[in-house]
């Protein structure tokens, strides 16, 4: 898990990562590369930008300023002990956001230098959350694909959190819960409706990775 596949160059790996095509060991290797190699993060950002330009009909506003991101992550770590959003509501998320940001870098920034809203805690929280969302969107592509065996293990071994939309608003689910959900759908179909439509329903809806879009 710690060794990068020699057959895959870092830039190739970053390209695949930006496209959300990695899974398993490749995914872990890519994240590790991001952690140790700043140029890897830079090339990820570039590939991401290329992808955005190709996909988006509108002009792309992009400022994946890595220095900014680094500062943001540091500040986020410092801010942790303070109450967020008027209470200790989601320290876990902010923490993961900081970690996630450190791991892969993300396209958060439209601001440079000390922002005028520096004092505004809520803004930072949102930015951190966005970086989590970006990273988990990738994690989702790789891990939402069913099997426990296929699910990547992140280097840190922390819970892999995934942001999904639900009628109650955005919620964070981890990959483990996804595995259990898949198991429930596979084995738990003890229903008289299983053969006429339950199976089709689950086959069609097995990976809710587009939830909320």
């Amino acid at each position: 898990m710690n060794t990068m596949k020699p057959s895959m160059q870092t830039s190739e790996l970053m390209s695949a990562l930006a496209d959300g095509q990695l899974g398993g060991e490749d995914f872990a290797a890519a994240l590790q590369a991001c952690q140790h190699d700043e140029s890897a993060v830079a090339s990820w950002a570039t590939y991401h930008l290329i992808g955005e330009v190709l996909r988006s009909p509108a002009p792309v506003v992009h400022g994946a300023d890595l220095a900014f991101l680094g500062r943001l992550n540091q500040r986020l770590l410092q801010e942790l002990p303070e109450p967020l959003l008027g209470g200790h509501r989601q320290p876990g998320i902010a923490d993961s956001a900081a970690q996630a940001g450190a791991k892969a870098g993300a396209n958060v920034a439209h601001h440079r230098g000390a922002a005028s809203n520096d004092g505004n805690l809520r803004w930072k929280w949102v930015a951190g959350f966005a970086s989590l969302a970006a990273v988990s969107a990738i994690a989702w592509n790789a891990s939402g694909l069913l099997l426990p065996a296929a699910a990547p293990q992140l280097a840190q071994g922390s819970a892999q959190q995934v942001l999904v939309a639900s009628p109650q608003g955005p919620i964070v689910r981890d990959a483990r819960l996804e595995e259990l959900l898949a198991a429930h759908k596979q084995l738990g179909g003890a229903s008289a409706l299983q053969v006429p439509s339950g199976f089709l329903r689950n086959a069609t809806f097995e990976t809710p990775q587009n939830a909320g879009r």
């Binding site: 496209d19 959300g20 095509q21 899974g23 398993g24 996909r55 876990g92 592509n141 694909l145 069913l146 099997l147 426990p148 065996a149 296929a150 699910a151 071994g157 922390s158 819970a159 999904v164 939309a165 639900s166 009628p167 109650q168 919620i171 689910r173 981890d174 483990r176 819960l177 595995e179 259990l180 959900l181 198991a183 429930h184 596979q186 084995l187 738990g188 179909g189 003890a190 229903s191 008289a192 409706l193 299983q194 053969v195 006429p196 439509s197 199976f199 089709l200 329903r201 086959a203 069609t204 809806f205 097995e206 990976t207 809710p208 990775q209 587009n210 939830a211 909320g212 879009r213």
Partner: protein, 341 residues
């Protein structure tokens, strides 16, 4: 890649939206004059048996759309049957490409992105007629049936029946079945207020289409270039694993219990036990695994479409309960679960 997805979603969203619109225009399905035919006099079990039989008699090609928890997915479906043999092919049109083949209770899932194919036997697929026979009166004990009239779905005239739960422990279902043979063409899961939690329907359906069984079986076996995974599940009993449900939940009976042997996933010993319950229509899974302070942060309850999830810490164990039932029902399960002394 996302653009394709959007286009697809838009494509499938349209017929479904149109369907909803059309449904909204008809003040009530009951307004359609229904001749007092066999449709009225059928019992719950008759209906369910008829739906089940229809899937053994009809060959078809269609597009199936599922809408749940704010997300929508669709798939192209081929279905063929000859004698006791049923073969089905499902090609997903949303999200990562997947091809799922089913030959009776044998299911093979191709994931071309990862060059992985998963092959497994799904016992629950073979359960049905026995499920109904052994529990004959049970479904009727907990659900009442109402015929709501006739509607057209995917170009096909369908009877609309509603299974109304007799207590608050389960959801209701509205089912559209093709009039001639009873094939299910649309299904809604309803909460206590009759709100639609999830729905699945054919947006287009070609009945008695020429589907070749041999061809599908051949495709199902073509695993060259794929890594074949066979999830190994060990059958066990809750009692043998030291668990008991001290207060049974009305209508829900234990169906089976499995353990995943230590594999690539997670730490050793962390493989969850899965204990499955069913009331004949809805199913609930109880997962039990050792409590891990790093991974199990806080107890939550979560609802996505018709599927509710609840997590709890129980001594040194972490319990996750999931099912297509109201959250309160899951709480009953959680409260009733106990480690055997």
């Amino acid at each position: 890649m996302n653009f394709k997805t959007y286009r697809l979603v838009a494509l499938v969203a349209w017929p479904l939206a149109a369907m909803n619109y059309a449904a909204a225009q008809v003040p009530s399905p009951a307004a359609t004059p229904t001749p007092a035919t066999a449709a009225e006099s059928r019992s719950v079990n008759d209906w369910l048996m008829r739906m089940h039989e229809a899937s053994k008699k009809r060959s078809y090609i269609g597009t199936f759309v599922v809408s749940s928890g704010g997300a929508m997915s669709s798939a192209k479906v081929w279905h063929v049957c000859e004698g006791n043999q049923q073969v089905e092919r499902v090609e997903t049109l949303t999200g990562a490409p997947r091809s799922i083949f089913r030959h009776n209770d044998q299911v093979v899932t191709f994931m071309p992105d990862h060059k992985v194919v998963r092959s497994e036997k799904r016992e629950s697929l073979g359960m049905f007629p026995e499920l109904l026979q052994s529990t004959d009166s049970r479904i009727a004990d907990f659900y009442r049936m109402r015929h709501e009239g006739v509607e057209r779905v995917a170009g096909i005239e369908a009877d609309v029946v509603v299974l109304v739960p007799k207590d608050s422990m389960r959801f209701g279902y509205r089912i559209w079945t093709e009039q001639k043979k009873g094939l299910v063409v649309k299904l809604q899961t309803l909460d206590a207020d009759g709100k639609v939690l999830e729905q699945a329907a054919f947006s287009e359906l070609q009945l008695d289409a020429p589907v070749k069984m041999d061809q599908l079986i051949q495709m199902m076996g073509k695993v060259d270039g794929y890594r074949v995974e066979k999830p190994v599940m060990v059958k066990t009993t809750a009692s043998a694993e030291g668990w008991v449900l001290k207060a049974p939940v009305a209508g829900f009976k234990p169906m089976s219990c499995y353990k995943r042997p230590a594999a690539a996933s997670a730490a050793p010993g962390a493989e969850p036990l899965q204990w499955i319950f069913s009331d004949g229509l809805a199913s609930v899974s109880i997962f039990v695994e050792p409590y891990d302070r790093q991974r199990h942060e806080k107890e939550t309850s979560l609802s996505l479409g018709a599927t509710q999830t609840l997590t709890r810490q129980l001594d040194t164990y972490w319990v996750t309960i999931m099912g297509e039932v109201p959250m309160a029902t899951l709480r009953h399960f959680a409260n009733g679960l106990e480690r055997k002394k």
